[in-house]
Assembly symmetry: C2
Homo-oligomer: 305 residues x 2
């Protein structure tokens, strides 16, 4: 005899991610359609921006907004701008003078497909466009402009010389230099965590969250941000390059300090799992409203790419 | 017998420029002091930002504010952010993959003094910091936040993929390709003129100018922006490298289309002079209040570096 259908319907993360990615991709295409010309620079911007990415940061932004309120056009615009900033950072990090990577999101990197000069300028243009769309949207939005200025400030700080860019400097300096665990954590917080946190802050701000709920969401974000990086390191050891769309084993060949290198694989997995538990604890107060964030945290630790 | 002293006191541009550059430099140092750490990235940001530049864009921003109102802390902050964006564009343009220049502002370029990766990230960081300080200032300013958002929008558009960055793309594409005069003008408007215009717009907006006066000032700016570039081309032919802090003769060795190349030196000088006259005509309505802008236009055409 079959069990009766359960009244509890588990959250369908695959469906949620598909819907939200689709929403982000559609909005990005709309921006491209409105703002881009048929010049080489715009071709390169479109190429890198529309390559199949996980869209983790914009989805987190949307999910944070939903946790405290609703998703509206302001939140979607902000999410798109954050994805532009993330894409710019990938283009610049992949350059020959930096990580010298040939593949990204399953396709040749921007400087391979175009050329180094175009890739540098394409990154510059995507970063600049993010602030263009933030300010365009805020000028025509009915929402409190102070909120939008707070978003611009949070994102520029997270992406700036005391955030993501300093993280990349430290990441490069760490090649062939062994780091202590605390320095490794700090480097990753700067390089990846800060923008992930700002994505959640942005969604929470524009979604109308209180200061207290924004703080809970930021605790969630800083924990999953670090967990994301620990899992990245693990995947660089044992991931499948064809699923990941980029090479693996590169950390070891570059003599990079990693969590698996410092802690071993088993303890790295445990560390990631502890971080995700901290994240889940921080969003308990939102109850069912935080289901997407809850599922996203689980996805981050179980992902294969 | 000596003539009696004239009641008319001519405007002392040297003094004005010294005062305003000093104001900009002092404010930049204050920002550096508050925001920079002792890491390599901040060293490189300081190195390029504090190299002895003309500070044309921030001075234009201040002068525009003075023409329609007064210079306050908001205007000064905005002027500093614009200089950061200008400096970032110089650092990236100088890179080996682009113009491959070794000297800038009388000193080794950022990638020579540091390295290519650091120079790319230093440019990225200065661009991002501009939006950080725009939004920080606007959050604590009593001024209408809509004005600040309009500034962020004008500057990001001027610096973006339909402004300065597209200008650099076209400039590179024009090497070894001859351009028609109209395409050369368009390229220069994008590469240099757009940000010069946005500097003036920014000063006029934050200085409290009416829409009509902003439009007059923008006409002024687009004319002197182009004149500036024509003079740059002339100086590249006949300038003194020791005064200019960078090499000359480079346009010809790179087979670049230039005004002297297309029009000859004499007609190029005439063209620059016509543009400055258009600029002066546009600001007549401001009377004596526009004396600094008037003198700046003259300086642009008579400068030797």
């Amino acid at each position: 005899m079959k069990n009766p259908p359960s009244p509890f319907k588990p959250f369908d993360l695959t469906k949620y991610l598909d819907e939200k990615r689709e929403l982000v991709n559609r909005s990005l295409l709309q921006i491209i359609d409105e703002k881009f010309t048929d010049y080489r620079l715009c071709d390169a911007m479109t190429y890198s921006l529309m390559a199949p990415g996980k869209r983790l940061r914009p989805v987190l932004c949307l999910a944070a907004a939903e946790t405290v309120g609703t998703i509206d056009d302001d939140v979607i615009t902000a999410a798109c701008g954050i994805e532009m900033i993330h894409t710019y950072s990938l283009i610049h990090d992949d350059l020959p003078a930096m990580d010298n990577d040939n593949m990204r999101r399953g396709k040749p990197t921007c400087h391979i497909k175009f050329d180094v000069a175009t890739a540098i300028l394409t990154g510059d243009a995507l970063l600049t466009l993010a602030f263009d769309i933030f300010s365009s949207r805020s000028l025509c939005s009915r929402k409190n402009r102070k909120l939008w200025l707070a978003v611009i400030n949070a994102v520029s700080k997270a992406a700036g010389h005391r955030g993501m860019i300093e993280g990349q400097m430290r990441d490069m300096a760490a090649e062939n230099n062994s780091l202590e665990l605390d320095d490794l954590k700090k480097m990753h917080y700067l390089k990846t965590g800060a923008l992930i946190e700002a994505s959640v802050t942005t969604g929470a701000l524009l979604g109308g969250g209180s200061m207290a709920s924004i703080r809970h969401l930021e605790t969630y974000a800083s924990n999953i941000g670090l967990a994301f990086q620990v899992v990245d390191d693990i995947l660089n050891v044992e991931g499948d390059p064809s699923k990941m769309g980029k090479a693996t084993g590169t950390d070891q060949s570059r003599n990079k300090s990693t969590y698996p290198g410092l802690l071993g694989l088993t303890q790295s997995r445990q560390f990631a799992s502890d971080l995700v538990n901290n994240a889940l604890h921080a969003i308990k107060i939102f109850g069912n409203k935080a289901n997407p964030l809850l599922a996203l945290a689980t996805y981050i630790i179980e992902r294969k790419r």
